[in-house]
């Protein structure tokens, strides 16, 4: 069976604005990413600022143009698909944006906002009052919310409106960009539980973009770690968490300490700052910050290798694995 979404060697390239004396160059915000998302499954993409995760998501949603590579949705090529054609697919591929309130048009009521997909897709013959009520109930908001404006609701409630809006037309693929950003710890769980429940009920595939590994831990089936526009590790979520292969994954895991002052920290401490995408390091992109760096890392680009179901791009996973064993 082929996957719902097949991303193959995708590059998203941006032109740099040249100054008076300098010529304009290009940067690869996404630099050769391949991954598959199966129908009804959840895929988590984790990375920090500048990793290209949001750019990748927007390329899938047709909001950025992929310069190279292929994005197949049910076998249909999305790259270079004319907007008029893409519009038909927007019923099936929907996106939730980072800023819960800022992604809602401020002068529209919640009812107008969540029934907009029907109007946009020419289905305004539906009973929009009933649809609004159905959608609000589905995401756990009282029907009275229909009359409110975005500035009158909290961040958590706005998130639910975002979910209702995205799921209005029974999509097949939901792209959720930082679904818990700006939410308090006590309601982050609500959001993730809601997504998990709706996935079970509606059977949709979800692509979650986040900087926080903990967010994807419980609701994703597969997870991919991005660094400077490339995937560095990918595999079934449980295995990646249990046995991270790439030192960057380990560093991310360690950077989310548990709230226990006596916890034994298995800390992989990174050095310095993430390099600029304008000056992509040679060899392994991660070598400038890697605590286990070897001479070879600064010259050779690591290829994908597998460890069980987990694939990674690191020359020396065994070296740091031994150190890890020594410290714990």
């Amino acid at each position: 069976m082929s996957a719902l979404l097949e991303i193959r060697d995708v590059f998203v390239r941006f032109k740099l604005r040249g100054g008076v004396f300098s010529s304009a160059g290009t940067i690869d915000a996404v630099s050769g990413v391949s991954l598959d998302i199966e129908e009804g499954k959840t895929y988590g993409i984790v990375g920090e600022s500048g990793s290209g995760k949001t750019t990748l998501a927007r390329a899938v949603a047709g909001l950025h143009h992929a310069s190279e590579g292929s994005i197949l949705y049910r076998g249909q090529e999305l790259v270079d698909l004319p907007e008029a054609e893409f519009r038909k697919l927007r019923r099936e591929i929907v996106m939730m944006f980072q800023d819960p309130i800022g992604s809602l048009s401020p002068r529209l009521t919640i009812k107008s906002l969540i029934t907009e997909p029907f109007r946009i897709q020419g289905m305004s013959d539906r009973d929009l009052d009933a649809e609004a009520k159905r959608l609000l109930t589905m995401v756990g908001l009282p029907p009275e919310f229909a009359a409110r404006y975005p500035y009158q609701i909290s961040g958590g409630q706005a998130r639910r409106v975002g979910v209702a809006r995205a799921l209005a037309l029974d999509p097949k693929l939901l792209i959720a960009d930082e679904p818990t950003a700006g939410l308090d710890v006590s309601i982050q769980g609500e959001m993730l539980n809601l997504l998990a429940r709706l996935q079970d009920e509606l059977g949709l595939a979800i692509m979650i973009i986040t900087h926080n590994l903990n967010v994807v831990r419980h609701i994703t089936d597969k997870v991919g770690i991005m660094y400077l526009g490339k995937l560095v590790e990918e595999g079934p979520t449980e295995e990646v968490f249990a046995r991270p292969q790439h030192p960057y994954t380990l560093a991310l895991l360690a950077a989310n300490p548990e709230p226990d002052p006596d916890a034994q920290l298995m800390r992989v401490e990174l050095q310095g700052e993430p390099p600029s995408i304008l000056r992509r390091p040679k060899g392994c992109e991660f070598h400038t910050r890697c605590p286990f760096v070897q001479p070879r890392c600064s010259t050779d680009v690591p290829a994908w290798s597998s460890h069980g179901a987990v694939a990674h791009r690191c020359h020396f996973p065994e070296i740091w694995a031994q150190e890890d064993a020594a410290t714990t």
Binding site: A255, P259, P261
Partner: protein, 323 residues
């Protein structure tokens, strides 16, 4: 002795719907040469508390009662000029957004020399001190970097500069308001570690505000948990995080994703919303969302002692002691 002693502080904001009681009878002490964390979610009153301490309050804010004692003296009774002399020398601040705390058109060196205007040193000496501070917060090649402008630094570097500037005058108290929230997690841990080392070296007290429980656990000695404008629990990090006495603290710890090791499709949450701070409920502020709610909760609980140095505002403590 405590550097900062806040007693019974109540602050409200005038709104069209009536006074919004952002802080109610808040008391806490910030001990000398320790890092105290304040943890709480949106609407808990963290920002109001900080603005009351440094007396930079919104025009519609009103102090209802209480004292903010800094080294024994009530800051709320000080004149504006006296406060200004205190800010940046005795009490310094680091803010959440490192991209907006620096003047974009002046070099970092110029800004770091400017803030030493109170000291009678030559410019070269001031510059040397500035370079020394940059080195201290972990910025490589500080001499050269003094000539650069803020936009030439990354977010993490700028936050380090902000910390360097805040510590320049060797303050007795550093207030850090979510200083790492805007940064990536891998940079966050680097800065947290540096802050801990600097505190040891300089010997100041730090008031560290964060919603990130893991960071509080790692960095702080003491912790104060706030909810909807009240202090609900305080004590050493070990006491509070290992034996939370208030149901809110316990629920919050359970919700922290770093806490949940076993894979689950049903994550813990705290159902409900914080109460309306204009029309407050009469009893315990957390009662509506509390899973341990009982008859006593209709009355507002007093601060009780769970163990020496560990306090919580919950009826269950008093009942446990008497039982």
């Amino acid at each position: 002795m405590a550097v900062l002693d806040i007693r019974d502080l109540s602050v409200s904001y005038a709104t069209p719907r009536g006074p919004l009681k952002a802080l109610r009878n808040v008391s806490m002490t910030i001990p000398e040469k320790k890092i105290t964390g304040i943890v709480g979610e949106s609407g808990c009153g963290k920002s109001t508390l900080i603005s009351s301490i440094i007396r930079l309050m919104a025009p519609n804010a009103k102090v209802g009662s209480g004292e903010v004692r800094f080294k024994g003296e009530n800051l709320l009774a000080r004149s504006e000029n006296e406060m200004r002399a205190l800010r940046g020398t005795e009490i310094s601040m680091v803010f959440q957004d490192p991209m907006q705390t620096h003047n974009p058109v002046l070099t970092v060196g110029r800004q770091m020399i400017d803030i030493q205007y109170r000291d009678k040193l030559s410019k070269a000496e001031k510059r040397k001190r500035a370079a020394g501070m940059l080195a201290l917060v972990g910025i490589p090649d500080p001499e050269a970097r003094l000539n650069q402008y803020p936009f030439e630094f990354s977010g993490g570097m700028r936050q380090r500069i902000a910390i360097a500037m805040a510590l320049m005058a060797k303050p007795s108290l550093l207030i850090a308001d979510e200083p790492t929230t805007a940064l990536d997690a891998t940079l966050e841990v680097q800065i947290i570690k540096r802050l801990r080392e600097l505190q040891d070296e300089i010997g100041c007290s730090i008031l560290f505000i964060s919603h990130h429980l893991g960071v509080i656990a790692e960095l702080c000695d003491e912790v104060v948990v706030m909810y909807a404008g009240e202090v609900v629990e305080s004590g050493t990090v070990r006491d509070v995080f290992h034996n939370p006495a208030h149901p809110y603290t316990r629920a919050l710890l359970e919700c922290d994703p770093g806490h949940i090791k076993v894979r689950t499709r049903n994550l813990p949450t705290i159902p409900g919303n914080i109460p309306d701070l204009v029309n407050l409920p009469s009893g315990c502020i957390f009662a509506e969302r509390c899973d341990k709610r009982h008859d006593a909760c209709a009355a507002r609980p007093a601060m009780g002692t769970a163990s020496p140095g560990h306090h919580a505002a919950c009826h269950l403590i008093a009942e446990r002691v008497t039982a």
